[in-house]
């Protein structure tokens, strides 16, 4: 039975709360429950056309739209930042269609929709992390056919993936995958963590928050319940390791966060800043300073980012 409710606070809006009609939300919600019940398994769902392009986060947007309620507080990040254009656009979409509170603070959000990062701050049980996923199938670049990859998952036939990773090692001395680094979920399904840097993989393991993944164009939903074992694929002689930097964040001095490189000029000068903008500004508010922070004394700033202690 279709029941359309106009957004009570925006009488002009002809769309349902959170844009999607109730039947579509129910269809997505059913897929979400299956996804939670089968961690790491990709549940097919009848993804809808959204008023933003495929590839711009339509899967994450549909998941968020199916989950969000009037009391939620939404944070949207892209590349770790709240102010990247696409994050701004998605946040505006929900502010408009669901009239929910939004925030840039990780700690204040009940739902965080993300593209390419997991916040640095540890997430809680009462939070939900929604990932935008371009290619949900971790085996897709080894086998383009869905009929084949589905069989491989069914049979737990992941040899091909290990061979690929091991070929990297023999050729480069490293596993040459730096993002979308495949993980094994609860010892059963190999899963694509979305194109987050492998730096973020360890955060997924036993995370207290529920993690939901939406791939709109590929029409797949998958999930990690809280406290689920998530292991990055590796080998005994080549254990998984995350990226590290010799530098610190130029603004807040953090040495434990994922850093973006900022090119300062055409002479090779560069600096590093936290990709997680909320983490960085919180640290700056707490008085932490990096070498390039504007209230640092002149002359201490230098491009190779050595600590200005």
């Amino acid at each position: 039975m279709e029941q359309t409710v106009n957004n009570p606070l925006e009488a002009s809006s002809a769309y349902n709360f959170a844009y999607l009609d109730e039947q579509t939300k129910r269809m997505i919600r059913r897929a979400l429950l299956k996804a939670v019940a089968i961690p790491g398994y990709q549940v097919p769902f009848a993804g809808r056309e959204m008023p933003m392009p495929y590839g711009w986060g339509t899967g994450g947007v549909q998941v968020t739209a199916a989950v969000i309620g009037p009391d939620d507080t939404l944070k949207v990040i892209d590349q770790g930042a709240d102010d990247t254009t696409n994050a701004v656009s998605i946040r505006q979409f929900f502010a408009k269609t669901a009239n929910v509170a939004t925030t840039e603070k990780t700690a204040e959000a009940s739902i965080i929709q993300t593209r390419h990062r997991i916040p640095e701050k540890e997430l809680r049980e009462d939070q939900i992390l929604v990932y935008q996923v371009p290619i949900p199938e971790p085996l897709r670049f080894l086998e383009p056919r869905e009929t084949e990859t589905r069989k491989m998952h069914a049979l737990e036939e992941y040899g091909l993936m290990h061979v690929k990773l091991y070929e990297d090692i023999s050729r480069h001395g490293h596993i040459a995958t730096t993002y979308a680094y495949p993980v094994m979920v609860d010892d059963r399904y190999v899963m694509d963590p979305s194109p987050t840097p492998k730096f973020d993989n360890p955060k997924m393991d036993m995370m207290a928050a529920l993690q939901l993944f939406g791939a709109g164009r590929e029409k797949r939903i998958y999930a990690l319940p809280p406290y689920t074992k998530v292991k990055s694929l590796d080998f005994e002689d080549h254990p998984f390791e995350v990226q590290s930097w010799k530098d610190e964040c130029g603004m807040c001095g953090a040495t434990d966060s994922y850093l973006d490189e900022v090119i300062l000029d055409d002479k090779g000068n560069r600096m590093f800043v936290c990709s997680d903008t909320d983490y960085c500004s919180e640290r700056q508010d707490a008085g932490h300073r990096g070498p390039q922070h504007h209230d640092q004394p002149l002359g201490t700033s230098h491009s190779n980012g050595k600590a200005a202690e």
Binding site: P44, D83, T85, G173, T178, Y179, S275
Partner: protein, 380 residues
Amino acid sequence: MYVAVKGGERAINNAHRLLAEKRRGDRDVAEIETSQIEQQLSLSVTRVMAEGSLYDRDLAALAIKQGRGDLIEAIFLMRAYRTTLPRFAFSKPVKTAEMDIARRISATFKDLPGGQILGPTFDYTHRLLDFTLMANGEEPATAHTADHPVDETMPRVLDDLLNYEGLIQDEPNPTNDDAPVADLTREAVKFPADRDLRLQNLARGDEGFVLALGYSTQRGYANSHAFVGEIRYGSVAVEIEPEELGFAIDIGDIELTECETVNKFKGSKTKLPQFTRGYGLVFGQNERKAISMALVDRAMRAREMGEQVMGPAQDEEFVMEHSDNVQATGFVEHIKLPHYVDFQGELELVRRMRAEVLERLAKADAADAENARSQPEAAE
């Protein structure tokens, strides 16, 4: 001093204003009305309706205007609107056999019952720019009305004429009009896909993509030489049967182009040699799309016919996963979105791998030099 870039919201809003300004163009030139688009760019309108999967000429005209004439953008606008519409009913199958014919041709017979009806076609126009259209001066000539009306029950070449001899593969009507039909807009696509789903996918598929695939089947990337058995274009009635009424009511007419191709089939151990079919159906007048669709439909029946799959057009996963231009354009264009977090990971890896190679080379050089010193005679 480094200050992070902020102000995404303001930038977006202003970009939208600029876009609107560009769309309008020179304000000394009269603004185009959607009714003009609907009437005078009617083939754009029907393409947008077909690939937008929504038969509404006015909305398609609006979408074309809003999309600045970018038809894929217009198709996207239609799709995004369509998805919000509640579904009241499913129509009965349209009866193209009862089409109000505007054009009907067959390539397989010179003359045939019902005749060849040329109708409005570019086919025999000489492609010379007509500068009078630019001068905006001349009223186009009005067409003559034929002496006889078109045969009301225009026989179908494949069903009524070829099938008479049992030469063509029978395509039985479903016994039940209400039998469920797949709908990829309501259910996730699963493979292998049945023909109803494949046809729906092709009908909303990108015209250029389906054209290219159809073309590839003619150049050897599939083994199915096709003849156009019949193309018909005209309008058909759409009927629904509300449950509370218990009988069908006519809710309006739509224009369709239908193409049936005839393809050779050499027969198998269990089947006599006979002709097989490809089918294309598209909103509006669009023979290019209808013919291409029929070619690809036939190619994708390879599995059913026990044919070897040798070309992309026969590969249903390949075709169906890549035919949708809204999906394709979104994903192709999305790589312009920020990816600097991933790129940072790649930068770090490439730098590290280069450093390691250089270190290894330096070590090898040092070892060579050491060897050369300790074995001077060998160096000579």
